[in-house]
């Protein structure tokens, strides 16, 4: 399995993964390399003993300033399957609550000797700031409204798994684009791979400016649905009503929810995706979430393999993990 070694060497300059743009001057090539590596790790994940020694002796710390059980579990599982040691910095019970600055927290963690920091933060840009202070690799596991690059990578992988190449595909991203890090990373990744993206939302849930965004905009989900290969639904948060962004969840669902009748407008092959956690009955009807074309569980499953690929790219430089294994 010589391909894995060559992947890491070509990516010797990828120190952090803070945004999709970090995947290189040619983002499509960068994503392609992650996909290729992910194929191998999907295969590993299907084994009876889904563990390889690739990152043995390396330490990965998960630093979640914002609760996210799913993403944290996914990263920790990925690190463990690569035989890395995993430390869990629990913000709620730590010195951060006592007023320690972000920089001091990072310097403290680094002093313990870590190789990668997986960070989730409610503030956009926090991982970029951390990367300036840290010597270890920093992986953005979601920062505010900004980016969530591994989510985008696992979404690309899931689409490719079902539909093949993304080039020329039409993907609708539906819902709260304005507040969505998933949307920002996915738009960057999908369009880099040649897909056409339409964002579908009421104007209040779009960013104030879409200048420079390679997307089409629609406020009419019914008109868009028949033309898409993927309908990607975003989580609708209840607090948006109190901010006067939508009148009610009921009205939102009536216009932008993927109801059973609306799902019938989708092409036979069209995928239904959601980053989770779902609000069944709001952005997605319960029955639609269980539709054969809904790949929401695949997204979660692929998330572990994609994160293994990312950790390996950042930390596995020089290791030929595949070569040591009896595969």
């Amino acid at each position: 399995m010589s391909r894995t070694g060559s992947v890491s060497s070509r990516h010797g300059d990828l120190r952090n993964l803070l945004s999709i743009a970090d995947l290189g001057p040619d983002v499509a090539t960068g994503i392609g390399e992650v996909m290729t590596l992910t194929d191998s790790f999907v295969e590993v994940s299907e084994r009876a003993n889904p563990k390889v020694p690739a990152l043995r002796g390396r330490t990965v710390v998960s630093l979640f300033f914002e609760d996210s059980t799913r993403t944290r579990l996914s990263f920790e599982t990925a690190a463990k399957r690569l035989s890395a040691d995993v430390m869990n910095f629990s913000v709620n019970t730590s010195s951060v609550k006592k007023g320690e600055s972000l920089r001091d927290t990072i310097e403290t963690i680094e002093a313990m000797g870590v190789d990668a920091i997986v960070v989730r933060h409610a503030s956009a840009g926090a991982p970029r700031q951390i990367a300036q202070w840290a010597t270890s690799a920093v992986i953005n596991a979601g920062d505010g409204w900004h980016e969530h690059p591994t989510q985008a990578l696992l979404d690309c992988y899931t689409i490719r798994q079902r539909l093949g190449d993304l080039a020329g595909r039409h993907i609708a991203i539906v819902g709260d684009i304005k507040h969505s890090r998933v949307a920002r990373s996915n738009i960057a990744a999908f369009t880099a791979l040649g897909a056409e993206v339409t964002v579908v939302a009421p104007p209040t849930l779009l960013p104030p400016s879409l200048e420079g965004w390679p997307v089409k905009v629609s406020h009419d989900l019914d008109a868009v649905l028949p033309t898409v290969d993927v309908c990607y639904l975003l989580r609708m948060q209840r607090e948006r009503m109190s901010e006067a962004l939508i009148p009610s969840l009921r009205e939102y669902t009536s216009l932008f929810g993927l109801t059973e009748s609306r799902a019938e407008k989708l092409a036979q092959h069209a995928l239904i995706m959601h980053p989770g956690p779902m609000n069944r009955g709001v952005e997605i009807a319960a029955q639609v979430a269980d539709h054969p074309n809904a790949v929401i569980i695949d997204q979660v499953r692929n998330g572990v393999a994609v994160r293994m690929a990312v950790l390996f790219l950042l930390l596995g430089s020089g290791t030929e993990w595949g070569g040591e294994l009896d595969v």
Binding site: S101, L102, S123, A124, Q129
Partner: protein, 441 residues
């Protein structure tokens, strides 16, 4: 040191009267006693006077900053009256107006006196004080303006926030007109209903970076309201740190109608744009936020055509502890005193946006009028005038190094930037506070 007076030789004077090459002689008691191409010290009784070289330099009345945050009392870890005064002197300022958003707020005679006393004790700069318009700047009840005016306060502002309540602002303007001395109410224009939760200019970059934005209209609505209230009450209104094209246009129209409105702009609003925030470095977080290219161009146009009356620094020191936070948690503000003149030269005069005389008008004698201190500061460089002077080399190129700034904090957004124009000497009452670029105390 200047017991026998000072003679500044070889410089080029630029003031409101024009431009001329002359030496300037200053008596031991701080008054200009001679302005002449070749001063004879003996003839003026100034034998033994300190001779300051001004070859290649411009001599002007000292700069006046009508928007300085000195952080004392309450935030002395970020700046004190003394450290801020030193930064001011190094920047060429001989007078600064301290903003009232201290802890406690400068909203009573007692706190006014405390800051004035600290300014005198530091002795580096003429420290004046702006009082709050409302008690504790909370926007609910009027602060005792008369007791503060009795101590010499001529500007009032709730800077840090704007007075949100329209009726209260109307009353404040009406009340201020009856204090017996001319005062100016200065406004930080920001409608909080539109700006709340925002951390940068709303637009292309905020959308891309995922940072909640502050629309230009949050500023412009209050500029519009205050112009309307100036018309209603006849009282003077000063618009602080105007930052948007719309605000510039509103002030331009108000002035065309003869309304008693003045405005200031900061160096950062004519130098930097919201694209800087792409680094997520909170050193670029400021309120009003860094705006678009179009806004920067409009501010420059407003400075050039006289719509904007003053360049004010909004010098806002913050410790690195609080600035090294996530962008949306970090406080707003950036240093300004030690870089303002160089940015004016580099960004405005060098590219030909304004002349050197216009720059000095914007930084010295025009702000002195707004601050109500024009009898002492921003005076012509003439015999009989107080010797509050700046001598600077408009061609000297230097690189901004945060560690070398005199301010107690280091939050300059210009670290590593090469700028043109450096202060050689700053004289307060004829005493060199800065000599050959070095603070003298």
């Amino acid at each position: 040191m200047s017991g026998s007076g000072v003679i500044i030789r070889g410089g080029r004077i630029i003031d409101q009267l024009g431009e001329r090459v002359a030496d300037v002689a200053i008596s031991a008691d701080g008054v200009i006693v001679g302005v002449d191409p070749a001063i004879n010290a003996g003839a003026l009784g100034l034998d033994g006077a300190l001779e300051l070289d001004a070859t290649g330099c411009i001599i002007s009345s000292g700069l006046v900053d009508i928007h300085t945050h000195l952080r004392e009392p309450g935030r002395e870890e970020a700046e004190t009256v003394e450290t801020g005064s030193r930064a001011a002197a190094l920047g060429g300022y001989t007078a600064i107006v301290a903003m009232p958003n201290t802890e406690p707020t400068i909203d009573s005679a007692a706190v006014v006196q405390q800051v004035l006393d600290a300014g005198v004790a530091a002795g580096l700069c003429d420290v004046r004080v702006a009082g709050a318009i409302t008690v504790d700047r909370s926007g609910t009840t009027l602060a005792p303006m008369a007791e503060m005016a009795a101590l010499g306060v001529r500007m009032f502002t709730d800077d840090g926030c704007g007075v949100q309540d329209d009726r209260l602002m109307r009353r404040a303007l009406e009340y201020s007109a009856g204090l017996g001395v001319p005062v100016t109410l200065a406004q930080h224009c920001e409608v909080e209903a539109l700006s709340d939760g925002g951390h940068m200019h709303e637009g292309e970059w905020s959308s891309r970076l995922g940072i909640p934005g502050i629309p230009a209209e949050a500023e412009e609505l209050m500029v519009f309201r205050d112009i309307a209230l100036a018309r209603l009450t006849g009282a003077r209104v000063h618009i602080q740190h105007l930052s948007t094209a719309g605000s510039v246009e509103l002030v331009r129209q108000a002035k065309a109608k003869g309304l008693p409105v003045t405005a200031e702009a900061t160096p950062h609003h004519f130098t930097l744009t919201h694209a800087e925030v792409a680094s997520y470095d909170p050193v670029f977080k400021v309120n009003p936020p860094l705006r678009s290219d179009e806004d920067v161009a409009a501010v420059k146009a407003g400075l050039a055509d006289g719509t904007i009356d003053a360049i004010a620094t909004d010098h806002a020191p913050h410790t690195s502890e609080v600035k090294e936070a996530p962008f949306d948690h970090a406080p707003c503000g950036m240093l300004g005193l030690e870089t303002a003149l160089a940015l004016g030269v580099s960004e405005l005069v060098e590219p030909g946006v304004i002349t050197m005389q216009q720059l000095l008008a914007l930084m010295s004698w025009q702000p002195a009028v707004i601050a109500g201190i024009e009898s002492a500061h921003g005076r012509p460089v003439e015999t009989g005038e107080p010797a509050h002077l700046v001598v600077f080399d408009p061609t000297h190129v230097w690189v901004v190094d945060p560690a070398k700034l005199a301010s107690r904090s280091h939050n300059t957004p210009y670290a590593g930037r090469s700028v043109r124009g450096r202060v050689s000497h700053t004289l307060l009452c004829g005493v060199p506070m800065v000599m050959n670029g070095e603070a003298q105390r």
